[in-house]
């Protein structure tokens, strides 16, 4: 891999760190790096030890853990907030990586007490996009409560 490519791979990785909430696919990420999709995947994996999409998933799940610990949000809201479009996929991947379901994880932390950041505050600060956001939840059928809640 040419050494000049490393800094462009970094731009793509930074993009995932920054914009994990939005729809990022390999086409877009490869464009950030300025190389073809297949070359991008191969070089990214060589540089960082995992594929770009796996990195993105880990990034989203890490953000989800943070929100589940500290934010007063439902699992569905957290799922949407970190960029997953399907609650089923989110829960399965979360369980695989963390070893328990999102609600078990949240409840375990809630049992320890401590203040939680209100959902409305997170909304005001742009962590949540309730309504008006690019539609990306077509295949998410079940919402635990109306999505407008907390967006006062």
């Amino acid at each position: 891999m040419p050494v000049e490519l490393l800094s462009r791979l970094r731009l793509a990785r930074d993009r995932m760190d920054r914009d994990y909430q939005s729809e990022l696919d390999l086409d877009r990420l490869a464009a950030v790096a300025g190389v073809s999709k297949f070359y991008f995947v191969r070089c990214f994996e060589a540089a960082y030890g995992e594929t770009p999409m796996r990195y993105l998933t880990r990034r989203r799940l890490e953000r989800a853990q943070d929100l589940l610990r500290f934010a007063n949000l439902t699992v569905t809201e957290v799922c949407m907030a970190v960029g997953f479009s399907s609650l089923g996929s989110f829960s399965a991947k979360f369980r695989r990586m963390v070893g328990e379901s999102p609600s078990e994880y949240r409840d375990r932390w809630a049992a320890r007490g401590g203040p939680r950041v209100p959902g409305c505050y997170l909304f005001m600060n742009g962590v949540l996009h309730l309504g008006g956001a690019p539609k990306r939840d077509d295949d998410c059928a079940i919402l635990e409560k109306p999505r407008s809640e907390g967006s006062q």
Binding site: D14, R18, V117, N125
Partner: protein, 141 residues
């Protein structure tokens, strides 16, 4: 008697670009810029802390080639950690830096030790911004 830390090294790939970023974007001030034989010494400091200079170094001697190459790759890949910076209002600071085009890698988040964000400098280092608060080891349990 050792009085204080006076100098730390921050690796960069371009000393001019690095200095401009830290001065123009982050608010540091230029301190020293000396061209020596095959070697340029560039330092900056925080305006309130002239006693601590940060030298912006291109990876090179006394590192051997392998060592210099390692630092260059870590910078390019974005895995080199730079400075930890204390801020008075982490969220506001991040808004201001975003407006200036700085990449925020981690938006301000509540931590046991304060509100923390991670940003990228223009050389590939990541920098941590912390708005500190009191904590005890138990907060991490």
């Amino acid at each position: 008697m050792i009085r204080n830390v006076s100098l730390i090294t921050l690796y960069c790939s371009d000393q001019d670009e690095a200095r401009d970023f830290y001065v123009d974007v982050l608010g540091f001030v230029s301190n020293t810029d000396i061209q020596m034989d095959g070697f340029r010494w560039v330092t900056i400091n925080h305006p309130d802390h002239p006693e601590l200079e940060i030298t912006l170094m291109k990876p090179g001697p006394p590192l051997d080639d392998e060592g210099a190459d390692f630092y260059r790759r870590q910078l390019d890949k974005g895995q080199a950690g730079g400075l930890g910076l204390r801020v008075d209002d982490c969220r506001k600071t991040c808004e201001e830096l975003t407006a200036k085009g700085v990449t925020i890698l981690q938006e301000p988040s509540e931590r046991p030790y304060g509100v923390e964000a991670v940003i990228r400098d223009n050389q590939g280092n990541w920098l941590v911004l912390v708005e500190p608060k009191e904590f005890t080891p138990e907060d991490f349990a």
